[in-house]
Amino acid sequence: MRARRAVRLLRLGRLPYAESLAAQERCAGRQRAAGPGAAGWLLLSEPAGPVYTRGLRGGPDPAGEARRLRALGAEYWRAARGGLLTFHGPGQLLAYPVLDLRRLGLSLRAYVGALEAAALGLCRRLGLPAARALPPPYTGVWLGGRKLCALGVHCGRHITSHGLALNCCTDLTWFDHIVPCGLEGKGVTSLSEELQRHVTVDEITEPFLDAFEEVFHCTLISHEESIG
């Protein structure tokens, strides 16, 4: 039986969004230098504070938007990822796979589908079989008309970065100030809302990793050394 490919797991814990981006960049740099044979990375983190991020496309009034959202007490970042405006904060799992698509044998489109499948795998394990991935422009994982998990990725020289944001016990009122992902009339939700109990990032991490290993046919190896 062919051994599953190894992917290095980096558990960053709770840290500022900017630091999770920096860690991701370091891994992506190492991955680009190493070439397609090298094992990829999966970075997990939980944002330490509230952050709004806008993707590649920008909005009609980026400076005004930044001012308005910072005035709420959140950070505001532009991210070189697909997707529009979203929120990240405590109680949310950020998963950033830094993988070489050539090694995975996946098109970018199929890779996004695989991320959705990993989130759906988690939902099944938690007893939420009704969770669904929807086609563009509603890419993401939904329960009814409420989005549970948002996606936005970047691909440069075949290496992926950014990834998914899954609401565990996120304070969803932060989403009231934006039209998440530019989708008017759609709601957001969290695992805590759907399961009607307090669900932490820590609680769901292992089942998420199981689902990730299943979808990507890989074995996650904890990476202890610092990647600074």
Binding site: A80, S107, R109, G152, V153, R157
Partner: protein, 172 residues
Amino acid sequence: MALRALRRVAVSLAPRCPGRGGPFPSARSAWPQAAPARSLGTSALLFSARKFTDKHEWISVENGIGTVGISNFAQEALGDVVYCSLPEIGTKLNKQDEFGALESVKAASELYSPLTGEVTEINTALADNPGLVNKSCYEDGWLIKMTVDNPSELNELMNEDAYEKYIKSIED
């Protein structure tokens, strides 16, 4: 004179067929393998049939100006393009410099310059109709035009046959 003959041959052997999903017709293997990128006196006469990079961009050169786009393989892999981020006219690019990105299904994918040169035009039709990149990746879905500062760089790119083989090797 020789160059005009070359161009007629190119037109008859390499008809552009927008929207084709399949592999390139084998008639193209008749195209001379030597890279036809020699400048015949002035750079304005520089001409090259479509060449490809390993990152799935293509460039074809006419009158010394290169037109750049992404291949059919690339547009299929991306999915529906919803936004094109392109450089300003006048931007100077070295070969393999990142010059923009295409957004599709929540994914932003970088674009890399096939050659060294300066951006002379960008496809403004893509602002309102980014889907042209999918529907017509070799024709109406072109991304930028640029000067060709080092014609010898064309020799480093793949011709259509070599690119076709490259794609097959990736898919296996």
